[in-house]
Symmetry: C2
Subunit: 501 residues, 2 copies
């Protein structure tokens, strides 16, 4: 694979000097156009030639308007990063639409180094690459222009440099710890790098290999490719839309009154006031203890609440939080996205809300809005909401792999019960603010929402993060059921965490 | 001082149970109104009774709609926090307008504990309280409703508890490390606490002492006070405007063509192309080395660029960044604030952009917009921009105290030079995007801007963060001058950091 980047490519000074001033002007002009565009540019500069990566980054930055370029390097993870899934550090610095974000060494170099020193096994290595591929697909599907450059230094060239470096250390090349590791195991490293490049080179997101021996050739090649790609993309009137992946599970055909998985929820269970009071107290005090134990073991939790309007999300969340130390949880109400959120991938706002170690994040509505309200109301295109299913599965898989407890609740009530509650809200003074014209409008589209919820459950109830369908016609039993489920999951996870120690 | 909270206040169960349900409803209803309001509510729960603080926080949270309450506790600072000034951790979790933010133990308990164990001396302790007071004043001046509660446990009560705790540990009260420290030095601790309370109790922001012995009394008292304050505030049609502090330095009387400090800038220096090339290269390579050394010593830098349109900020920033490793700096262009930024104190967006240890943040326009464009164009009221001077001074003081190098540059050109550059921009194809009708409009108000700049320099050129007035009619000498200044400051700071080690 690297053969194409070992041809001894060179560029003479005259041609370089003749082209650079013009190229810089064009880059800055395109950057200005980009400011008005609706997509971000993500440039990954990686490769086996670390010093060349750094130098190239400097050159690219000096050739562009530094005000609209963000450079992200990833040294040793901070403790705030360590407490979240690996890709959190990349998600949190994604550029907004109209900006250029440069990522030094990207998200593919770390697994190579970790595999090399044995802190990942082969399966974990492959798995990481898998996540990287899905991460990239998700970015480009959202409209990002992703450009990945791999700077390759031919082996012979490398050996020359090491020799020179030994004679005049600091002058030529300061070898880093990672470089040494790579070059002490050159054959294995090369194999791993080739594998990583191959596995993360997809149709829309290929790696571009660039020979790094000659700095003029390397600088100009990469800059020209960026200019060309940005120019081409700006010329497209509409964002390219990726074809939606074929649904893995067929949805039931829409009928007047569809039969969905929601109809299977058994609403017969109910609790008397006395039973409720006893059971609730009992589970609340269990939860209080469990949440503390989980916090001590650094077990983090993500709770997701979805369901019909008036299904009782607020009431359940309130009982849950009553049973936890106020410093341990954060409720994240999800409403219409802000400007800043709209300027990023729709999952960005949720990544940013992931809990610290030992904490609980409670999402009152969530990323599932994409495949529920946004789908039904047409705020997201079909291509957008259909690719959301695999993206969400991947997101949740990363949480679970990081050891986060992920629990998703769908609160199910039937249409009659909803009507009863709407009417009650209208006549109860302190509940009036809870009912708006929107609620009535949504109710008119009950069948559409039912189908959307059915699809959502079909496609995102995974073995690692199942949907819990909660019968909520009876508020009391629903509340107890949810707290019980959370409590049991925390107990299990805490036990697992203790066993691991 | 604590005498008023040692009266043995109690509340019987009947009165408590009778009031609580009603109170909760009122709280939730007010919260709903608050969502539409233009101010945040900041509740500090602190005091010598740590377990009571935690319990009260839980109670308050369970009595409110948890979706619009953020609770912030501050355990051991993370490394991302340690790398910034102390108040960064508080700034970054300030609630947006319409929200309630609760702060467990607030920002006054830490200095008490630190003073107690001797890691602050008396002067540093006072200084911290000073910052706290100014922080709070800045929040309330911006419209925040700040409520501070100090839960006090009388000494006799405390001794009883400790005894009980010894007999049945874990059951009654788990004593924390800090509690022990406080109670082992009860008299000193009490004195420090009283001093802290007194020094941070100002007219608009008093501490409210609450006896914590009886949980019913304590819960109800605090909740009622919150309800009352929020209700009162919501009833006010307009936000209360604090009177602007009297200007410490008189501004020159506005005249047709004012004589300002800007007129004192000597524009006579200029460099030939050859001199420029030699000097620039020389200082750029010095800067490259210095920036690396500074990074190694964890010396952080904040550079601020202000000046007339077309004064050459972009060109200078570009030369500066060419001389630094791309991973070491971030350019922060300041434009119109986003929705999210508008929902917070105007300094919030700048606090969030403070650099990590060893990094450089370059602000292309800055917090000084408040006293320049916002003042001149009337985007900020006189009360707002006049209180910005001391707020900014305080902000910068905190940066400098944390060891951050703060350099502020005003790029000065005269009106004729600006006109020449505007015209040049209009006829140079790749510069046309740089000139907009706004630039011409601003130019019409030259005198107003000149006065605003003069006031700004008069009031914010402090001994710890002076303004550097750069003669920029000659672009070449301006560029060299700035790089030289940055380079020298980094050299000094790095030397200081090495000496300290």
């Amino acid at each position: 694979m690297f053969e194409t980047a070992e041809l001894g490519q060179k560029l003479d000074k005259e041609r370089y000097s003749a082209r650079v001033p013009e190229l810089r002007q064009e880059l800055v002009r395109k950057q200005f156009e980009l400011r008005q565009a609706k997509f971000p540019v993500i440039v990954v500069i990686s490769g086996d030639d670390r010093p060349a990566c750094n130098e190239l980054l400097n050159v690219l930055r000096s050739w562009t308007d530094p005000r609209y370029v963000e450079v992200n390097a990833f040294p040793v993870p901070t403790d705030e990063e360590v407490e979240r899934p690996v890709f959190w550090r990349y998600w949190r610095c994604l550029p907004a639409r109209g900006w250029i974000g440069m990522f030094l060494r990207g998200w593919t170099m770390q697994p190579i180094v970790m595999r090399l020193i044995g802190s990942l096994d082969d399966q974990e290595f492959e798995h990481w690459l898998d996540h990287a591929r899905r991460f990239e697909r998700s970015l480009t599907a959202d409209g990002a222009l992703l450009l990945k450059f791999w700077l390759h230094l031919p082996e012979a060239e490398f050996r020359k440099r090491v020799k020179a470096s030994k004679k005049a250390p600091n002058k030529v090349w300061r070898t880093g710890k990672h470089d040494k590791r790579i070059y002490n195991n050159y054959d294995l490293a090369r194999e791993l790098m080739e594998r990583a490049i191959r596995k993360t080179s997809t149709g829309p997101n290929p790696w571009q290999l660039v020979e790094s021996t000659d700095s003029r050739y390397r600088n100009l090649t990469v800059a020209e490719k960026i200019l060309e790609a940005v120019t081409r993309r700006l010329a497209q009137r509409d964002l390219p839309r990726e074809e939606p992946p074929p649904p893995t599970i067929a949805s039931p055909a829409p009928t007047e009154a569809p039969v969905t998985v929601l109809d299977t929820v058994d609403q017969s269970r109910s609790l008397t006031r006395e039973q409720y009071s006893t059971e609730l107290d009992q589970w609340k005090s269990k939860l209080f203890r469990q949440a503390h134990k989980a916090a001590e073991r650094d077990v983090s939790t993500v709770l997701v609440f979805e369901g019909w309007d008036a299904a009782g999300k607020g009431g359940i969340i309130r009982r849950l939080t009553q049973a936890m130390d106020a410093t341990l949880y954060r409720v994240v109400p999800i409403g219409a996205p802000t400007e800043d959120e709209l300027a990023h991938h729709y999952l960005w706002r949720f990544w940013r809300q992931l809990p610290r170690a030992g904490h609980v994040a409670i999402f009152d509505r969530s990323w599932y809005g994409r495949v529920l309200v946004e789908r039904v109301e047409g705020f997201a295109t079909e291509a957008e909401w259909s690719r959301a299913y695999p993206e969400i599965n991947d997101f949740e898989e990363q949480l679970v792999e990081h050891g986060i407890v992920v629990l998703k609740f769908w609160l199910q009530i039937d249409a009659d019960e909803q009507l009863r509650r709407f009417k009650e809200r209208e006549v109860t003074p302190f509940k009036q603010f809870k009912i708006t014209p929107d609620d009535w409008r949504n109710r008119d589209r009950w069948n559409d929402y039912e189908l959307a919820a059915n699809d959502m459950i079909a496609r995102t109830s995974t073995e690692y993060a199942r949907w819990n369908l909660i019968a909520a016609n009876d508020k009391r039993s629903a509340r107890v059921e949810v707290i019980k489920t959370v409590c049991r999951a925390l107990t299990q996870a805490t036990k697992r965490a203790s066993d691991d120690e």
